[in-house]
Each structure stands twice: as structure tokens, then as C-alpha cells.
């Protein structure tokens, strides 16, 4: 019977794109794993079981306790857990790979020349859709305008999302498609930039206003979505990211993930947070889904947006922006709405992850969590996403009720000058305050917010330990008291990221019983300076005991 049984089990395993049916010893490695608190374990080998889980961790010269089927020589390379990106947008990242990319442009002229070239290269596309512009990086001193694009693409709609996703830049054809004209009022939670001295729209639509054009953009087809997920996975695996928290999962996104899972094409692990209560209920029904596809997919809960972003002055502040008198940002939910939505999720044990960037937004969500914790006890792991600008008086509140601070180190280096302009020097004490979060007792989970920033965890680690940007500025770090140690940074990208998504025990650490998700890299991240960290070379990426990426192959 064994023969038939084995064949049946093999068929099952293949069906679910499961692990190889053999035990593998990987030895001669410089293995590193950290606990959620940053406690380091070093080891020299590991045995990976038939099911893709780690069976044994071996010290130097220690032998496996049972004979193994395969042996792989690690050639002395450094092995660390696969990185977990605790805040990104999987489909946004993938679709961005398929659209016009304006990141890295350093002037309006450069952006316009890319737009023109892209439109010429894609004459069949009824819309030109892109993303990644940042007028701050262009030194423009103003938002770009529809007229700017009209000069290079007048014939069809062009719609370009800002790098932070909180504003869109349209040409005249796109404004027309969105029915945005001088008579259109600003929608609640949004703003239409106007031509100076006129009611006519200038071209940029902020926060809720961008929906007017967004809604007119043709939806991607299922095959576009499948391709986008493939591209996102390729990019993530190449960058050493093996698991992610997907923030704002739509039903279409979820179906794309499932389609990949059903066909054995889901390789990364996705902890999903639905983009709305209806989507949450449609996907999860009565609560979080089970872990699917060998711990590769789970709907954990709900993503909420409480305010906008700092760059577009949509972040909700306690006092007006230093660079725009009277403006305190945009509340996307009022306090009652926030509490109602959080309750709706919590009553069915969905986890809640709330986007809060400004100090007023952070205070609001902290207040809501404090109130809701009366009714919803147990292990809730309330998440605050970004937690960028926090009133120092509010920082200790993060340590209560098990609140997780889900933060993105590279935002600090990208935003530094902008944050100084928006807030002024006196209000930066609680800005990107990673170390204060840890000291307050809040678990810290790091991510990239990709496609807002590239999903490159070693660049993030470098920022986290230095608060210097890629050029080493400012020397010694911006507000260096908020740096964290290498061990804390690695934990925030591994074990703490798993904990933030209820995945501890499944992945995030290299220890018996967890999935064998790991990287082989060319240096020891716990012995590297910021510059060295940025240059880390990922030699191999393994997920569930299977090699999914090898450099140069």
C-alpha cells in the first residue's frame, strides 16, 4: 500500500505546490535568526523536512539526528530569515511594473519627456496611466499642471499618481473624462487644485478628489492582474522579501491571489488586510480566513485610512501646516466612523490596521483603541500604519493595549526635508520615532509601503540604524536618538513582522517548526555599516524549503 499511498501524497503535494518530498541538510552556513525582541541565535546548519518546515537547527560540527536525503553545502555564506515587508500594496506594486514609472525623475522636464516617450511607445493604449512623481524632488515649488502634460500628450487621457498615492496629476483629457471642471466642488476629504485666480482645475487632485478620475480609468483585466502579481513576486523575491502584509486588499486582488494559489503560482506569503468592510466580509465572511496554501495566504483583517499623507498636506495635524496657514489636513473618517468600522471588524475577530500619519490622526486612533479595548479584549494586535508624526505626549500610549507600530524606515530618509517644511523644526520630536516606539513597548514592524518606496529591506535596515540617506546625509543621522540597533531592525523585518500578522510559529524565524524561508546573502547584516547594508547582495531566496531565486540564474 505504501507505494500507492506515496503516489497519492505526491499528487496532493504537487497539487498544492508543496515541498519536495525529501529531507534536506544545508550546512556550512553562517546562520542568523532573531527573536521578536532582537535576541540573536547563530547556527551552522539546518535540516528542512519534507513539508518545507525546519526540522533541526545545527551548531557547528553537530550532525542531523536522522539521516537526510539531500545535502547542500552553504559554502560559508550568511543565512538569515526571509524578510517580511509589513506594509505594502502587492497589486499596486505589480501594476506599477506594468505602467509608466516616474520615480527618480529630478525635474518636471525629465518627467514630461518620459511621459511623451511612453505615449509614443504605446499608441494603442486608450489611457496613459503612471505613477511615482514627486514635485518636491523636482524643486518645482508648485504642483505640476494639466497644461504641462497637454503640451506633450494632448490626444488622450493621462493620469499619473503621486509617489505617495495621495494625489493624482491629470491632463485636460483626463480632467474631462472625470467631469472635473470649474463648477466641480471639492469633495469631502479631497481637494481640487485650481488655477490661481480662477475656479478652473489646475490638474492635480488630492486624496478623495482623485477618485473622480480614478473611477474612469479602465480596470485591469484578470490577465493583467495575474501578470502584475507575477511581476510583484519576482521583484520581491529578488529583493529578499518572502512575506508581506498587503494593505488594502480588494476582492479583485484577493481573487488574483487565490487564482495564483490554486494554480501553485503563489510563492510569497501574503497577510491581507481588506480595503473596506464589504470586501472584508465578502472575502472572510465570519472572520479571518484560515491560512491557505501552506501558510502563503490569509485574510487577517481590515485596513482603514484615517488621514492623507504629509507630502500632499493631507496628514491630519493638531496644528496647521507650517507651510500652509490654516490647513490642518484631511480627515478621511470622523471619530464615530472610525470607531464603527473598527468595531465591525473587531466583533468578528478581524485585526484592524489603521493608516495614521499626522499627530492628530495618531491621537485619534489611539483614543479609539483605548475605548474599544474595553469591549474587545484578548490578543487583538491593533496596528497603526505609518505612525509617522506623533505628539511626544502620545508616544507612551503606543505601549498599551499591544498596539503594533507598522513603520517604514525609508519614508524618514525620503521625507526628511519635506517633513521639516511641513511641520517646522519645533514639531519633529515624535517624527518617525522608531526607538521611542520600542521604548514605549510597542512592537515595531518595518515595511516599505511599496510601490511608494522600493521594497528593498536592506536599504530600509540601513536607514533604520543610521537615519542617514543613501548619500550619507545628514552625517550622524537625523534625530539620531530614534535610530535602532541592527538586531532590532532585523527583528522588525522578520520575527516582529510575523507577530504583527499573527504568523509567529509559522515563519519569521529560523527554528524548528517554522517554514524554511531564508536568504543567502554575501555579508553579515549584524556586522555591517549602513553603506554595506545597502549594498547587500542576495545570492539565493528560499521559501518553504524551495529555492525560488538564485542570483544570475
Amino acid at each position: 500500500m505504501i507505494a500507492r499511498f506515496a503516489a497519492a501524497a505526491a499528487a496532493l503535494a504537487l497539487l498544492h505546490s508543496g515541498p519536495a518530498l525529501a529531507d534536506t541538510l544545508i550546512d556550512n552556513i553562517e546562520g542568523i535568526s532573531v527573536s521578536r525582541e532582537g535576541k540573536v541565535t547563530r547556527f551552522a546548519g539546518m535540516v528542512i523536512g519534507d513539508d518545507g518546515r525546519i526540522v533541526e537547527i545545527l551548531k557547528r560540527r553537530e550532525k542531523p539526528s536522522e539521516p537526510v536525503d539531500f545535502h547542500e553545502d552553504g559554502k560559508g555564506r550568511v543565512v538569515i530569515p526571509g524578510m517580511i515587508d509589513s506594509h505594502l500594496h502587492v497589486m499596486g506594486l505589480g501594476l506599477a511594473q506594468l505602467s509608466l514609472d516616474l520615480t527618480g525623475t529630478s525635474s518636471l522636464e525629465e518627467a514630461l519627456s518620459r511621459i511623451e516617450a511612453y505615449a509614443k511607445a504605446h499608441p494603442d493604449r486608450p489611457w496613459i496611466v503612471g505613477w511615482g512623481w514627486n514635485q518636491e524632488a523636482w524643486g518645482l515649488g508648485r504642483f505640476p499642471t494639466a497644461a504641462d502634460i497637454d503640451a506633450v500628450v494632448p490626444d488622450r487621457p493621462v493620469w499619473l499618481t503621486r509617489v505617495d498615492g495621495h494625489a493624482g496629476w491629470a491632463n485636460s483629457a483626463a480632467l474631462k473624462a472625470g467631469n472635473v471642471d470649474a463648477d466641480t466642488p471639492d469633495p469631502e476629504g479631497g481637494r481640487i487644485e485650481r488655477i490661481a485666480g480662477s475656479a478652473a482645475p489646475a490638474g492635480v487632485l488630492i486624496d478623495a478628489a482623485s477618485a473622480m478620475v480614478d473611477d474612469k480609468v479602465p480596470s485591469p483585466r484578470p490577465e493583467d492582474r495575474d501578470l502584475a502579481l507575477h511581476e510583484a513576486q519576482e521583484l520581491l523575491i529578488r529583493n529578499g522579501v518572502t512575506a508581506v502584509a498587503d494593505m488594502g486588499t480588494s476582492v479583485e486582488d484577493w481573487m488574483t491571489f487565490r487564482r495564483a494559489g490554486d494554480l501553485g503560482r503563489l510563492r510569497i506569503r501574503i497577510m491581507a488586510y481588506a480595503g473596506s468592510v464589504p470586501d472584508m466580509l465578502l472575502i472572510g465572511g465570519t472572520g479571518p480566513t484560515p491560512w491557505l496554501y501552506d501558510d502563503r495566504l490569509r485574510l487577517n483583517g481590515l485596513k482603514l485610512y484615517l488621514d492623507g499623507a504629509l507630502g500632499s498636506r493631507g496628514a491630519l495635524l493638531k496644528a496647521p501646516y507650517a507651510d500652509e496657514a490654516g490647513n490642518t489636513g484631511l480627515a478621511l473618517l470622523n471619530g464615530t466612523q472610525l470607531r464603527n468600522l473598527m468595531s465591525r471588524a473587531a466583533m468578528d475577530d478581524f485585526q484592524v490596521a489603521t493608516h495614521a500619519i499626522g499627530d492628530a490622526a495618531n491621537a485619534e486612533v489611539l483614543g479609539a483603541i483605548e475605548e474599544l479595548s474595553q469591549d474587545f479584549g484578548g490578543d487583538r494586535r491593533w496596528r497603526v500604519e505609518h505612525a509617522q508624526i506623533v505628539d511626544p505626549a502620545d508616544l507612551p500610549r503606543f505601549g498599551e493595549h499591544g498596539i503594533i507600530a507598522s513603520m517604514q524606515p525609508v519614508h524618514q530618509t525620503s521625507d526628511r526635508l519635506m517633513a521639516e517644511a511641513r511641520l517646522g523644526q519645533g514639531r519633529l520630536e515624535g517624527a518617525y520615532a522608531w526607538n521611542s516606539m520600542l521604548e514605549a513597548g510597542a512592537p515595531l514592524a518595518f515595511g516599505s509601503d511599496a510601490p511608494v518606496e522600493a521594497p528593498r529591506p536592506f536599504i530600509g535596515m540601513a536607514a533604520a540604524i543610521s537615519r542617514e540617506d543613501a548619500s550619507g546625509q545628514p552625517f550622524g543621522g537625523w534625530m539620531p536618538g530614534e535610530r535602532v540597533t541592527r538586531e532590532q531592525a532585523l527583528a522588525a523585518y522578520t520575527a516582529a513582522g510575523a507577530f504583527a500578522g499573527f504568523a509567529e510559529g509559522r515563519f519569521g524565524q529560523l527554528k524548528p517548526g517554522e517554514r524554511a524561508d531564508f536568504l543567502m546573502i554575501d555579508r553579515d547584516p549584524l556586522l555591517s555599516g549602513p553603506g554595506e547594508l545597502r549594498d547587500t547582495v542576495i545570492l539565493q531566496t528560499w521559501i518553504g524549503g524551495q529555492k525560488v531565486y538564485e542570483r544570475g540564474k
Copy 2:
């Protein structure tokens, strides 16, 4: 390594609610299986493998070719393949179990007394929702009215769907909720019954008009849907149905099926046909899904509605209704719309199942299939659902292009008198023409249309071989030339039903390689008269080699 491997495989198997990890011999049975064409195989035992598939079929006194782990004595009972219901509405059936059931009422007074009692028993429900009324069965000679219900439930909306699903009966509160008043025009594809000599709505809304109230009924919650699926599965398994074609699957339905599948609670096999193109694309994406959960779920394609039903005079006829001058029924799609939707599905290899009841609707879908077959070759298995009233001149066209006639035997016995009234005696030659379909070469798949009729395949078989109703009327059968043989009827409920859903080789027959889905029953259906067939007792139901129902347990 074997021990750990076995444990891992066991975990996998449990995860997917798979088969017991052992081979089982069931012997001492009167085994029967039929091919799609009705060719009978008889056998005395079978071996079911670890994976729930049949390994071997044994003749009398034949021994298994390998030793088995378990042995079950069939005690001489008859074993037939699990029945496949090729046309029903799983969630409709389940939700109907949770709502007010008016089937079997024989007068308006009896219905009103049930409505009143139900409303009293459920004082907390903001709406009273029910189904199953049939004014024909009441001998009422008119549709019921809002005033009829108002007399017993005036305080909240009452909304009751007709037995065929093609009309709804509202009280005044429900009409008000739907904003249906004297000023409301008939919507396209629908009709508002009016009080005689007045424009005021009378209470019954036909076909598309019923959406006005339907849209106001509070949606079931996910937990209601889970319970409904559970109830539907219980009912089906008890009646010997192990697989179904779900006609008009919504995204909510699909998510409910997946939730059950993910949690190992999906027991029956569901071949799903999405209720709309957007739902089809959202669920399937680029084509039919893979077979999921060990062949328990697949999105096969798209369900289209071309016309209404005969009872509500919505079926589209070539000549006017005999009992309503000038009315030829309601076209829910025009020819161009039909072809566009069929093309959209076929271009991505989705199967198309089109509801066509009247002779004009059947001619239209046949014409569309003939045209589309030029562009979409290969094994398409175009399905016509119901194919109830067919112009005899069109019958031979069913044999071309592999068209499947998906028909419901009990509709014939339920509808006989109504069909005679609607059509007159001269136009019944192609009505419920099962044998003509087979003679034309069209594969015949039988179903119940549950919850329109009870999902009871042995009642259906009795109708199929006799064209007599449960009281034996009319003696000798209605248009007895359209009777089919017992073997053809059993094939239409098993192997041909699987073929109609691209499931041949997976289930539908008892032979090596197919899933072990079977019934133990108390008599031989191939040796039973209609009355005996109706009284068949289902002793056990097995799906995938697991006993899921045992009578009296």
C-alpha cells in the same frame, strides 16, 4: 523518514478534508454503474483507495488484487453512483430552508395562514421573506394581491417569491419599500400587475419588475450563508445527491463555497456557472478555475437567462400565449446581447449554459450556438437549460454542435396542466421532449431546479420513465413517446450529468480512477416501477470514499 513523511501527508490530507489514509473493500453489493449512453455495468464489490478514488471494481467472488486495510460488508444492498443534479441553485435552496416555505399550499387561505403564523413566530425580523407559492395550485384564477397579505401582516414588508422564481408577491409595505406605485412604469423585461381599472400596483411583480423589491431586501449575512450552505448540503446528501451544477453563482455564493472548502466543510461537488459576466471574470479571471478541494468545486462557466418562465407567461414564444392574447412573453436579452455575452465567455473557454424555456427562446439560442460555433471550435458543450418548449422543427438542431439538453423531469409533471393552458393542445409536440432530445443526439442531463422543485432524483427518475405524476396521472403518461428508459434516466442523473459539467473521469460512474461517490439504496432502480422509484430509501450516501450520511443516524 517514512514516519515523518506520513505525518506530513496526513496533515495535508486533513487540511483538505481528504480521504481516510487506508484502502477499503466494500463487497457483497449489487453494484450498478451506467455509461453516459446508458450502458449498464453490474458488479459485486469495489476497492476504494487512500485518496477516495475507486481502485478496483470486483465481480462476484473476485478478490482485491492487493490486500486492503478495511473491509465493509455491503449486506447485499444495491449500490449506484451518487446522483448529479444538473440544474439547481445551491444557495437558493439553502436560504429557502431558512425562510418561509409556501410550497405545498393548496389555497390562498392556507398560504395566508402560514404567512401570519411565520410572522408571529419571528417578531424580530424586519422583513418576512419567503417563497414557493403557486396560484395555479390554489385554483385561484388570478394572482394574489398585496391586500391579501396586508390583512394578516400589515406592519412590515412581506416579500414572497413564486415557486418558479419568476415573480414576487409583495404586501403594501414591501411595495412601498420598493418605491412601486401607480406612477411606476413597467421596467424592460418585467411587468407590474395592476389593480383592475387602475394604475395602482396589485402586489405581484413579474420577472425584471421583481428587482425593485428584491433590491431592498436585507442581504443575508456571511453566517447566514454558511448556515444555508450547510442546510443545502444536508438536504442534498439525504436525498442522494452528491454533485450539482449551480446555476447563477454569485461572488457571494462562490465565497461561501470557498469558505466551506477551506475549512473542510464542503462535502458535495459543485460545478458552478456564474450569474453574470463580471462575476464570472471576478471568480475565474482568465478562464474556468481548476478543480478545487479534491474535485469538489470548479467554476465551469456562465449562466445566462434568455427568457422567463411559463407559469408567469414570461417564456418567450413564437406565437402568443393561448391564454393571453397578444402576449408572447419576455425576452431578457436580445439576440445581439445574447451573442455578445456568449462570445465573451467562450473566448476565455468558459462554458455557457443558457436558460431557454419558450420555443422562440430555444430557437434563438440554437441560432446563436450555430453562429458562434464558427468562431469557437473544440469541445464547448453548449448547454441549454430547461429546453422546455421546443418547436419540433428545432429539435434536430440540438443534436448538432454537441449541445447539452439540461432538463428537469419533475417540471413536466408539475407543469402539465399549466402548459396545456398556456400553449393549447396543438403546440405541445416539442414540450419536455426528453426522448426526442436523445434521438436527436443531444446529451441529456437531468436536474431539479431546486428550490423550484425538491432535489429528489428518484422522483425525477419516476417522472422520466413514466410521465405520470405522483398520483399516477395521467395513466400511461403524458405524451408517453417522450418517456426515456430507466437506464437513460439513470445516465442523465449520473454519467451524463458529469459530462455536462466536464467532470467525466472524476465522478459520475463507479469505475477505477473516479471518485467513490455512491449511494446504498433499498431497491434496484433498473427493476423498479415509477411508484417504487419514488419510494426508494437512501440508506447511505458516500462522497470521495467517505460515508457522509446514514439513514437513521
